[in-house]
Amino acid sequence: MSNAVSALQGASFDGYCKVDEAGLVGMITLRGDLSSAAVAKAVKTATGADIPGQGEITEGVKGRAGWMSPDELLLIVDHAEAPNVVDAASKALANEHALVVNVSDARAVFRVTGAACREVIAKLTPADTSVMQPGMLRRTRIAQIPAAFYLEDDETAVLVCFRSVAQYAFDILSDAAKRGGEVV
């Protein structure tokens, strides 16, 4: 529907990195047997991407597939498409034990852009951001909330957290990106 809005409606902050709320993003939780052919096919159909390995996120023409746990994937697609993708994948997986559920609106997504994007996130997470490369996904915490992040490219980090704490996530990221706080 046209009246759908993301948690912070695209809020942004300019620091030594830029912090943007990414607006509406389609997100789907898929739980099932990640080695199953039907799951691989459903993921391919939904995103165009291959099944990611442990700690990976893959990219296809229609979206991405991130490895969340040994039996869980996060599919990232167009927000408006998410309900259709859930229906299609649920049907495709009707014959095996799987759960496909739309979580687009349960999430908030942020982009941290700039050469120091790893450094900004390193102020908030115990995960080693220096080893992160595009194609890797890490679930951890930022300050006091759970979050997952990956790199779109060397200077663009994408962070996913729960919608209810979007403002908190935006505020801590902005605080970490404040000018004067450059570490290196």
């Binding site: 442990q54 995960a127 951890t140 759970p146």
Partner: protein
């Protein structure tokens, strides 16, 4: 502050990414069990000075429970392994025995 390798994610997870869950390999007793059995299940916990098998959850990671064989004195971690097992795997037992030949076993 500990670091434990999550056997599911394959990452060294900081203690602040984890949640401790106490003694591992408890046997559940439900209806039909004796008072003694139930009391043991519910309340009796090992508190060893030394080798201990523990439950941990990678709470802000994959959300999965796993087990760790850990020394409560030296904080050495002999290994982490799946929670879907009734007893520590052989490899873990061997890792402990290698360091502590005198060790009497996990039960």
């Amino acid at each position: 502050m500990l670091i434990l390798e999550c056997p599911y994610c394959g990452v060294m997870a900081d203690e602040t990414d984890l949640h401790g869950g106490g003694e591992a390999h408890l046997k559940r007793f439900g209806p039909g069990s004796s008072d003694d059995e139930f009391e043991t299940y519910l309340f009796h916990r090992k508190n060893p000075k030394g080798i201990h098998f523990e439950r941990w959850r990678h709470v802000s990671g994959c959300g999965k429970w796993f087990h760790a064989a850990r020394n409560t004195m030296t904080l050495e971690v002999y290994g982490t392994y799946s929670a879907q097992t009734y007893e520590p795997p052989k490899a873990i037992i061997n890792a402990v025995k290698k360091k502590h030949p005198e060790w009497e076993g996990w039960t």
